[in-house]
Every structure is written in structure tokens, then in C-alpha cells.
Symmetry: C2
Subunit: 204 residues, 2 copies
DNA sequence: GTTTAAAACTACCTATATTAGTTTGTCAAC
DNA sequence: GTTGACAAACTAATATAGGTAGTTTTAAAC
């Protein structure tokens, strides 16, 4: 089977996977708005309309890039968590989450796009993330509902922090590392302390 | 010398404020991508190029809409928190935050755009949010650094949860209310425990 | 070789943002 | 009142981008 190199042959040998990967690279390098059909085609050595043989349109392509981003994020988190558990695992996951978003800010931003309902690859990647965080929380011995809540809470905390950080929502960048660690620690402390309700300020 | 920049225009009563407000309405009704110069102009009873007398371009307009969204969000949070403090205030703020995002999902999404550095109105609205959350945390008696961390953590938690919820990041909608309340409660418990009440879960 | 399906092409259309240059209405000074 | 200044709005036109239609080319199967 002849396998052509990229861009030289009259037949470029593109397929959907290659197009989506190139789109992800383009997003990573030039931002989400830098992803245009024309530029992507140029980078792939092809005319713009040719891409429509592989993708349904720009919107669908962006969704595909989002799915790819979630898959890569899930991979990062899993690699970070392997061989760890409990607090150590949670911190490792949280740091990996933030590191991914900082290294690939535009790809991460692309990730936020709502997926098509019923997208198997998205569901699968999202499920992996839930699973790895859930596993890290194992030592906390939470019931299944509490565990779901905790996974959602942690994911929200990480995503929210990182997202606000990328948008410049926090002022001074120097203290942000500390704030992130502290936020995760506070949440974990809350998990560990659950049961004894705080009641702070309840007298009003 | 004629001074008609403040609210009274010679011809059709259009000024920057009106344009931005109409843009926000359009975003609210038809989504961020539904905001085009042409449609906005049509809605204002004017031709598209006329808008350039009031705004610098679409990007700048979107940033202005973002600022307006943050201002309205800040207003909602302040109204929710008035007369409350401590845990009760935090829950009220968190619920108001989520309610705003659910009632105005596209305006909320527009809010995430990074503002121009040095935008006074944005800084002012962002400062109001920090202030109202910080005031709610008063009974927790945190030091100034811990307080900043806590404000950032809570804001991250709320934003992250709401953002993921809007993106369909969570599966079953029935349990989401509970998860949100639980996430906020867990974080508050973490604040209370770390603040010196019991010290449970703190590793050092 | 012939056939076939996909991949890529050219040509074209539409929508949108934006600019250039012109006209028009309102206000204030004369 | 007349007039002049100036912002507001207009018409016309340009550039870019997404997307479609229909045609050609190529790799590979028969």
C-alpha cells in the first residue's frame, strides 16, 4: 500500500484524522480564531473546498478539535495520576490539569465547546476523566452520590480556576500558584471534614 | 462649542451605550455568534456602517458586551448578598451566580472574553464581585492572603461548575442542583476546618 | 485495460466586517 | 432667520471567509 508523504503528491492522502490533528495544531499555534478553512487547507497543501470531503464544516471541525483536546487532557491526567492515590493523586491531577491548560491555552479553550450529544469519543474521554478523579478520591471513602458530587466539584474547581486564569480574571500572576494549591487543599479539607458542619455565620 | 456627546444625539438618538445594550440583548436572545454588525444595525433601524460611529469594530463591541455582562452579574450578586453574611451569604451568592448564568447563558459566555487591560468599568465590576464575596467570608476570619485565595477558590468553583453545566459537561440534570450545593458546602467546610476549628484533614 | 469511488479541483455564491467618501440633520453662534 | 460646524447616517465598494455545485483526476479493484 503506497503511503504518500504530506503535500507533494497530487493526491494528498488526507483523511479525517489528519485534518482534525492539523486543525488542532493550528488552534494550538494561532488560536481558535486562527482556525479557518483556508489556512488549514493551505497548511495541508490542498485547496479549501477539498477539506469538505473529510469534514462537514467549520463548526463540526471545531467540535472535533474539542474532542481531541479532551482526549489529550484525559491522557495527561491519567499519566499524572498513575501510581498515586488520595491527596497526592488529587494534587497531581490538579497540577496536570492546570499545566495542560497553560501549555495549550487555545486548545483548552476549544474544549469548552458543547459536544454533539451522543458523541462516543467525547463521552469516552469525559468518562476517563471522571474515572481517574474518582479513583484518586477512593481513600476518602465517599458514598457513590457523594463521590459523584466530589468529582464534579473538583473538576469544577480546576476548570473554573484555570479558565479564569486564562481569561485574565485574576489580577497579579505571581500569587496564582499559591491560590490554586490552596483552593484544592481547601476542597480536600472540606471532603475530609464532611459531617461536622461548620455553621460559620449561621447565626444571622 | 457643541457638546452632544452625553446622551443626546442629533439624529436618531443612538449612542455607544444604546448600541452596546442592544448588542447585549441580541447576544442574550440569539447567542454570541448571532451578534453581527448587520443584524445589530437592522435591529437599531440603521445601516451597518453607521454603527462604526459608535464602536471601533465587532471585537471591541464584544468586549463591551462582556463588560456589561460582568456589571450585571456583579449587580445580581450584590442584590443576593445584601443583609446576609457568612455561610448564608455565600450560598446566596453562589445561587445567584448560577442563576445568572442559567438565565443568560450566552451573555455569561460572552463575559469570559479577556478584557482590555486598563478597562476601568471592567476593573470596577470585577472589584465589586471580589468585594461582595470577600465580605461574605468575613466571619471566617481569614488573613488577607487566605481571604484572597478563598475568594478566588469560590469564584473558580462557581464559574467552573456553571461553565461545565452549560457545556453539558455533566450528565443527568436532576442531580446537578445537589452537586452544586454540595460543592459549595464542601469548600466552606474546608475553609472552616482549616481556619482553626478542628484542623481535621490538614496534613501538617 | 476498464471501472469505480473517493479526493481534489475550478468556479461561484453568500454572508460579513470594514473602509471611503458623501449627504443630512441638529445645534449654536451670528 | 441664516449659516457653519460636526457628528450621525447614508451609499458604494472591498476583502475575507464559509460553503456549494459540478467537473476532473487518481488509486485501486476487477
Amino acid at each position: 500500500m503506497p503511503v504518500w508523504g504530506c503535500g507533494v503528491s497530487p493526491r494528498a492522502g488526507l483523511d479525517r484524522e489528519a485534518v482534525v490533528e492539523a486543525a488542532a495544531s493550528l488552534v494550538d499555534e494561532e488560536g481558535l480564531d486562527g482556525l479557518t478553512v483556508g489556512r488549514l487547507a493551505e497548511r495541508l497543501g490542498v485547496r479549501a473546498p477539498s477539506l469538505y470531503n473529510h469534514i462537514a464544516g467549520l463548526e463540526e471541525l471545531k467540535r472535533a478539535v474539542a474532542v481531541l483536546g479532551v482526549e489529550r487532557l484525559a491522557g495527561s491526567l491519567m499519566r499524572a495520576a498513575v501510581g498515586k492515590s488520595g491527596e497526592q493523586a488529587v494534587f497531581a491531577i490538579a497540577d496536570a490539569y492546570r499545566a495542560f491548560a497553560r501549555e495549550h491555552p487555545d486548545l483548552y479553550a476549544a474544549t469548552l465547546r458543547a459536544p454533539e450529544p451522543g458523541d462516543g469519543r467525547y463521552s469516552s474521554a469525559a468518562g476517563e476523566i471522571l474515572e481517574v478523579v474518582g479513583a484518586a478520591l477512593e481513600p476518602y471513602r465517599l458514598g457513590s452520590e457523594d463521590r459523584l458530587d466530589a468529582v464534579r466539584g473538583l473538576r469544577s474547581l480546576c476548570h473554573g480556576f484555570v479558565s479564569l486564569e486564562l481569561c485574565g480574571g485574576f489580577g497579579m500572576p505571581r500569587e496564582v500558584d499559591r491560590s490554586f494549591e490552596q483552593a484544592v487543599r481547601t476542597y480536600l479539607t472540606g471532603l475530609a471534614c464532611a459531617g461536622g458542619e461548620s455553621g460559620v455565620g449561621k447565626s444571622d
